[in-house]
Structure formats: C-alpha cells, structure tokens
Amino acid sequence: MNGLVLAPVLVPLVAAALGLVAWRHPDLQRYVAIGGAAMLLVVGIGLLVVVERDGIQTLQLGDWPAPFGITMVADLFAAILVVLAGVLAVAVVLYSTATIDAGRERYAYYPLMMVLLAGVCGTFLTGDLFNLYVWFEVLLIASFVLLALGGERAQLEGALKYVALNLVASAVLLVTIGLVYGLTGTVNLADLSGRLDQLEPDGLVAAVAAMLLIAFGIKAALVPLFFWLPASYHTPPVAVAAIFSGLLTKVGIYALVRVFTLLFADEAAEFQPLLLTVAALTMIIGVIGAVAQHEMRRLLSFHIISQIGYLVMGLALFTVNAMAGLIYFLVHVALAKSTLFLVAGAVKQLTGSFELAKTGGLWVLKPGLAVLFGIAAMSLAGIPPFSGFLAKLALIEAGLEIDHVLIVLIALGVSLLTLYSMLKIWNAAFWKPLPTDLEPFADGAAAVTPERVARTRLALMVVAPIVFLVACSVTLAVAAGPVFELAEAAAVQLMEPAGYVEAVLGESS
C-alpha cells in the first residue's frame, strides 16, 4: 500500500466535502479551498520526490492485485503534472478569492474547483482505462458547472456547446473501452500494454487507437475537433478560464501520450503522418484564429489550440527527446497561458473591458503589470531567454534529429505569428494611450480615464498569483538544466513501458 499515490485525489475531494459542509459560510469555503490547493501542491511535490528517488509508485485499491482491481500508478510524467496542477490550483484559488462574486461563491464555486482538481489528478494517476473514463467524467461535470455558474447568457450558450461536444467525446471513449475489453478481456493499462501486442494485426487495434485519438482529440481541442473551445472558454470568469486553459486540454494530451506510449507504441509509426498533419493544422489554425480576434479572452482561447499543436508535434515525433520536449513544453505553456488569462482579468479590472480597442495606457499607468505580462507573453512566443524558447528549441531539435523539416518550419512560422498576436495585446492594452473617446458603460458607470486607472489599486490577491506564476515560469527557464533532466527521465519511462508494466503487474506475480 502506498497512500501517497492516492493523496493528490483525496486532498481536493476532502476539501470539496468540507467546503460543502460549510455551505452557508463562503468565507470558510475560501480558506478550505486555499488549504486544499496548498496541500495538493505539497503532496504533489512529495509524490514527485518519492517517484524520482524510488521509481514508479503503484497502489492497488482495496488490495485487489492488478489486473483485477483498479490500480493507481504514479510515474514521473504523472507526478510532474500533479505538481503542475497544484501550482495552478494555488494561483487560481487565490485569484478567485479576490475576483469571484458572492453569487458564485454561494453556489459552491470553491468545492467545484476542488472536485475539478480531484478529477484532473485522478486522470493523471489512474492505471486503468475504465477508471480513466470515470475520472474524465468527474472533471467534466465539475467543469460543466463551473462554466455555467453565474448563468449569464453567453456562459450558458457556451456551456451548452461545451457539454454537447464533450459528451460525444465521452461516448466515443466509452465505446472504445467496450471494444478494448472485447478484444483483450482487460482494461488495466499495464496489462493491455502486453495483450494488445499479442493480437493479430488485423486493423482492429489501429481502429481502437484511432477512436481513442478522436475521443481524446476532442478533449484536447485538436483541429478539426476544437470548435467547442473558442465558443466557450471566453465566457466564464477569468479565474475559471485560467484553470481550464492550464489543465483541461492538457489532460486530453496526457491521455493521448499515455495510450500511445503504453498501448499503441507499435502503431505510432503508422499514425505519425496523421499526427504530424493534425499538429501542423492545429498550430496554424489556432494562431490564425488568435490573430483575427479583438477581445483578449477570445484571442487567448485560440492560442490554447495553437499551443496544443506543439504538444501533438512532440507526440508525433515519438522519440525520447521529443517526449522530453513535450513534457517541458506542457509545463511551460500551462504556466504561461494561465498567467496571461489572469493578466487579462487584471486589465479588465483596471480599464473595464476585455476589448483591445477600449484598453490602453497601462505601460505608463501600471508598469509592474506590463512587465509581468511581457514576461509571460514573450515566454509564450518563444523569445530567449524565457521558458518558451527552451521548450520550442527542444521540440525543434527533436524534429531535426529525425529529419522532419516541414513540421519544424511550420512550428517556427507559427512562433512568429504567436509573437505578432502577443504584440497585438501589448500594443493595445499597454503601449498605446488609453482612448479618450470612450463611451460610458452600459450600466451607467462613467467612462474610464487615465486618472481613474492610475488610482485603481489591484487587490493583493490579484497581483500575487500572477507574480507567483511568472516566478514559476522564470524558474523553469533558470533551472532549465535540472528540469530538463527530470523531463528526460520521465520521457525515458514513457518510451520504455516495460518499467511501468513491471511496476504494476510485477507485485502480483
């Protein structure tokens, strides 16, 4: 028994339950959520240290030996992502305390956030395909409610599309699980790893792999399955959008990496042309969509899609170096993306608008915020010496190693467009002076003036999470050596699934 493997799931679940007990006391829920997020970060780091020192950790729930019971497995990749979830949880929960209105707090905003985190960590740590589906549903239902909570018209419409398309993805996943069980008689990932290889290569395994690619592709917002994302991610409060953009699509990528390295390593070569095409299209269409937007949250939403393309590129290349690049990129982009959403929220607080045309002057009026945005934006675009540069460098080197020049060129081109779209926000919100001909707001409040922006002080809990995330992002770049070694070790574990299989099944034999 190794309880630490289950702790990242239990901690947020307990925090959610405590929050529900304190139903009438939003203040108390807030503290419970902060405590839960901090504890999640602590147990995540603890898990990462243990996995790094002692190798892959497993837990057989109810002491049923694998493959009969449900197994929880923590390898380096999963442990790194749990730490990432902890970091984002701390930042977003703190940011929420200053920005989420009383109405949302009263209807279980914080417990829902905790359930979402439990679902995300459960997905990372489960070693069972059906259990993966269950955790996916846990995080989905929490995300459904978080998205719709507040009941604004745009939110409800966005939520409807998000719910419908994600339910289709869940149904596809469920069908695939049924087919996998019919083919092999097991749903334990480690057990499947061996059994799928023994099957006659009659196309059924490839069909199952393709169906999983579709199911997880919808959840990861790959082109052409991404349409739910730009229709919904800009509607909820920025704190919700920040945690969604940092974690949810990444869970889809995690699941793709897990099944392709563990179950379909033999089929990966067949899928490479398809995955490379999808990666290229996702990068290009995402960034073109972003360039065309005039509203910060919509622009950032399209960027999520574009960055997912880089992650798929890492998966498609399917070498140890590419996987290491993917892991580093994943951590980098989750931090940068969430930071940018939180900054967009701060800009809205200062100027009253997300519209680029109605913002401005913040470089002069709020230079600190401008610097924080600048670091996150340059990191996302891949300017040295920030983490995005190192992440892209790793992926591009991995691509050149095995002579995939076209995808490398596309990745570089998309980087330029990313920089352009970041400059668009920079120019509009920070560099140009605040427009003087602003209309008063629809609710009768007077139009913003530079004096008012300068007088407005951002709450500590708005600035502190942004500083925290930027600090993490900078640390990622400064400590690139050790972080990259860790990512490489995780990539080796992924590309040599024998260790994973032995850690899960070895104990029972």
Binding site: E137, I141, G151, R153, A154, E157, L160, V163, A164, G178
Partner: protein
C-alpha cells in the same frame, strides 16, 4: 443474438447522430441520451453475451463455472449508466436555463458566444 444487438447498436447510433444534427436543443438532449445508451450496449455486446449462466461460485468450489457470464462488463455498464444519468440531468437543466435566457430552442439563435 449478437447480430441482432449489433444492428440495434447501429440504429441507436444513427438515430442519435441524426437527432444531434437537428437544430432543436431538445432533440440534441434526446440524441445525447441515445448515444449514451448505444455506448453502454456496445460494452455489453463486445464483451460477449452469455445466456442463463450467472457467475455464481457453486458450493464446494472456489471458482465460477467456466462458461459463466462475465460480470465485469455489467459493472462497467452500471457505472456508465449512473454517470450518463447524472450528466443528462445536468444537460437538461442547462438546456432549460438556456431556453429561459435566450428565449429559443433553436441552436442557430444561440450564437452570442460563437466564434466571430
């Protein structure tokens, strides 16, 4: 029996997709519920159908008879039914709220949050 159920699954999927492609929000809900049922039936059929052989361990033995039905897919289907029931309940509530706010059940009218 497997063939018959396979055809049923196919019809369910076809009906679900047809309903989901209609513009009415209510038909979307019906389509989603049919889709969930079709998926459950797939698990059931793909895992193999056994008639009249409950997986009970006879007295004096430690293993069930070799031709007994496999209980695991039933457990999975049961879990999936509970999940899809909960999700569908949420979806219907959401759709009702969308109708209240937007005043329409036509998906084409619900374009406030769309890609512009």
């Amino acid at each position: 029996m497997t063939l018959l159920l396979a055809i049923v699954v196919g019809v369910l999927f076809a009906s679900a997709v047809y309903l989901m492609l209609r513009r009415s929000v209510l038909k979307l809900a019906l389509g989603l519920s049919l889709l969930a049922n079709a998926a459950n039936l797939v698990i059931f059929v793909a895992a193999g159908l056994t008639r009249g052989q409950p997986p009970l361990v006879p007295e004096g033995s430690t293993t069930p008879p070799p031709d007994a039905a496999d209980p695991l897919p039933q457990a999975m289907v049961l879990t999936a039914i509970v999940i899809s029931f909960a999700v569908l309940a949420f979806t219907l509530t959401l759709m009702h709220r969308v109708y209240q706010e937007g005043g329409s059940d036509d998906v084409d009218d619900l374009s406030e949050a769309d890609i512009q």
